[in-house]
């Protein structure tokens, strides 16, 4: 089977009924799609298949032969984040981070397709994704900001200077 994964052609040798999730994680060692439930219930394994957000745990490799797959690794890099990635960071939309990859991929697919996505559109697009930490509000705010282009990819810098710790014994590490 042959896929284009994050822009690179890749030949896969996993059996044809292997899930795309397992093939990505175990054969190609692309680990951003997560195995949260392996039954399509949590959304943590979401990747783009020809631009569409799909649950990679439910897709047999044979069903995606020839497709273009995009994972979180195929979006921005740490010094050049995509607008959705930057918005997630800026709005504190990731806590433990385990569901984040799936949310960002679903949001990316939405904004690519519907650049001026409304809050309703966002809620619909993210409705199948489970987050147990942040409680969704920050996630929805981040996607709204990304949809409006209200993103500031330059990192929010600490707005204070750390205080010098008092040195009690001269010469000792603080």
């Amino acid at each position: 089977m042959r896929l284009t994964v994050n822009g690179e052609p890749r030949d896969l040798h996993s059996p044809p009924l292997t899930s795309l999730l397992t093939a990505l994680r175990e054969e190609l060692e692309i680990t951003s799609p997560k195995a949260g439930c392996h039954q399509g219930g949590c959304g943590a394994c979401t990747v783009l298949v020809d631009g569409e957000a799909r649950r990679s745990c439910l897709l047999p490799l044979a069903a995606v032969d020839g497709a273009a797959i995009t994972t979180l690794e195929g979006l921005g890099t740490s010094d050049n984040l995509s607008s959705v990635q930057a918005a997630f960071d800026e709005h504190y939309a990731a806590q433990c981070g385990f569901c984040t990859s799936g949310f960002i991929m679903a949001a990316t697919a939405l904004i690519d397709r519907t650049p001026k996505a409304s809050r309703e559109d966002i809620l619909t697009a993210l409705s199948g994704h489970v987050c147990r930490c942040t409680g969704y509000i920050k996630i929805v705010s981040a996607v709204e900001a990304a949809a409006k282009g209200d993103v500031h990819p330059e990192r929010v810098e600490p707005s204070f200077e750390p205080e010098e710790a008092e040195v009690l014994i001269p010469g000792s590490p603080a």
Binding site: E29, S32, G36, G76, G97, C99, I104, F160
Partner: protein, 461 residues
């Protein structure tokens, strides 16, 4: 304090949004074997036969472990705190909850491991299961735990008890008794990252253990105790947890993976399925709480009698600790001078229960706050005024006789009222957490006051 109120970047934010954060399941070690466990299909049963030979003979299987492979099988999670051990790592001659691990297999891939588990020959004799904590003391209830129906080691008692003041006098003086029963149910933490461990035998004889635990040094101690190894032969790598909420405090996957890795002499990974998470990972406990408060018609709470039943599930684990915390909080954020509290840790055939976001305290807060509303309703008093009047103030003592130095109940209730536009009379709006005096120091609250000023603590002991 310059960081408070400032917008600071998350130290792990960029790694999370670029997929660079490495959880246990993302670590790749060449030659890693997969693990599957044989788990009990019954809530309560004797194991009459266990034969793993066919599983061991299956090509691709590198190790099978049962209780016979565990150097120290019965170890308690809180043994270091003096709470004795009751739970086997792998079941010996009986199972007490559905999903309890009996044996585990390490094989070249997931399918082979699953097939090997299906080849383990086992026979059970089912026993009646017990779930209703209210019936724990009934003579005809099934006896499921070697210690009896409840955890018996709270000092010389079989329950956590708190006594303060003169409870009988409080109930004699009361205008009204307000009673309530509160029963919050079990909750599965359901972190998106399932329980996962990766154990790598190193050339120097040590084990490197990649763990999703919320409690690294605690888990290290538990693994070392089961293996009967010194701590310096274990290297724990962790701290990146894909959600836990208390559900990853119990050491659930590391020890069995370590035994398999040692036997197979290969790296071993064990990632639970979502089904296993729901079936066999610990949950928040169900509770049964009965309150009776002695109250006056003008809204003072003179005394509280409370009995709590906590569902520990099949083994003690952290439950005695949870009930102790629960006991300390049984008056909530309010000052009640006369109390009589009994808290029981009840054994059932549920999966063992554990910490979840305010272990032991969320349940009692739910009961206390709901009961405050009930008292207000019975007395025909405004529920916020009732709270503000009885709220903890500087110098008040808690049920376990700690003198409060800076309690926040009054400012928090006032701020909440303000935020939702809740109107209060001026004498309530101007309340503070200052030491009681005048109308706020009725006779029944005089003796409980501790310390002569806010700087003392422990004066009520």
């Amino acid at each position: 304090m310059k960081a408070v109120g400032a917008r600071l970047p998350r130290y792990d934010g960029v790694a999370h949004v670029t997929g660079q954060t490495q959880y246990v399941d993302d670590i790749r070690i060449r030659g890693t074997l997969w693990t599957k466990a044989l788990r009990s299909p019954h809530h309560n049963a004797a194991i009459t036969r266990l034969d793993t030979s066919k599983a061991e003979a299956l090509p691709g299987v590198h190790a099978v472990v049962t209780h016979k492979d565990v150097p120290h099988n019965v170890y308690g999670h809180l043994e270091a705190l003096g709470i004795p051990a009751d739970e086997p790592l792998l079941a010996v001659d009986e199972v007490r909850y559905k999903g309890q691990p009996i044996a585990a297999v390490a094989a070249v891939d997931e399918d082979t491991a699953r097939e090997a588990v299906s080849l383990i020959e086992i026979e059970y004799e089912e026993r009646p299961a017990f779930f209703d904590i209210r019936k724990a003391m009934d003579p005809d209830s099934p006896q499921i735990h070697q210690w009896g129906p409840v955890y018996p080691h709270f000092g010389s008692y079989n329950h956590r008890r708190v006594r303060k003041g003169d409870i009988d006098a409080a109930f004699e003086q009361a205008d009204t008794i307000v009673e309530g029963v509160y029963r919050p149910q079990a909750i599965e933490h359901c972190p998106i990252e399932p329980q996962t461990a990766l154990v790598v035998p190193e050339a120097n004889g040590r084990l490197t253990i990649y763990s999703c635990t919320q409690a690294m040094y605690f888990s290290m101690g538990v693994v070392a105790a089961h293996l009967q190894w010194p701590l310096n032969k274990l290297k724990f790598v962790g701290g990146t947890v894909g959600g836990g909420f208390g559900g990853k405090v119990d050491t659930a996957s590391e020890t069995i993976s370590a035994l398999l890795a040692l036997k197979a002499k290969r790296p071993v990974k064990w990632r639970w399925t979502r089904e296993e998470e729901f079936l066999a990972s610990s949950t928040r406990a169900p509770w049964h709480m009965e309150l009776a408060d002695a109250v006056t018609s003008d809204g003072w709470i003179l005394g509280r009698r409370m009995t709590t039943l906590h569902d520990a599930g099949a083994y003690a684990r952290f439950s005695p600790y949870g009930v102790t915390k629960h006991a300390f909080h049984h008056t909530g954020a309010y000052t009640i001078p006369n109390v009589h509290f009994d808290g029981f840790v009840v054994f059932t055939n549920r999966v063992p229960t554990t910490a979840m976001r305010g272990f032991g305290v969320t349940s009692v807060s739910f009961a206390v706050e709901t009961h405050m509303n009930r008292i207000a309703e019975v007395l025909g008093i405004d529920p916020l005024q009732l709270r503000l009047k009885n709220a903890n103030r500087i110098g008040d003592t808690t049920p376990n006789r700690v003198v409060l130095k800076d309690p926040s109940t009054v400012p928090v209730v006032l701020a909440a009222a303000d935020r939702v536009g809740y109107d209060l009379p001026d004498e309530y709006k101007s309340m503070t957490n200052e030491r009681r005096s005048g109308d706020l120091l009725p006779p029944h609250l005089v003796d409980q006051l501790g310390g002569s000023d806010a700087s003392t603590n422990g004066g009520g002991r």
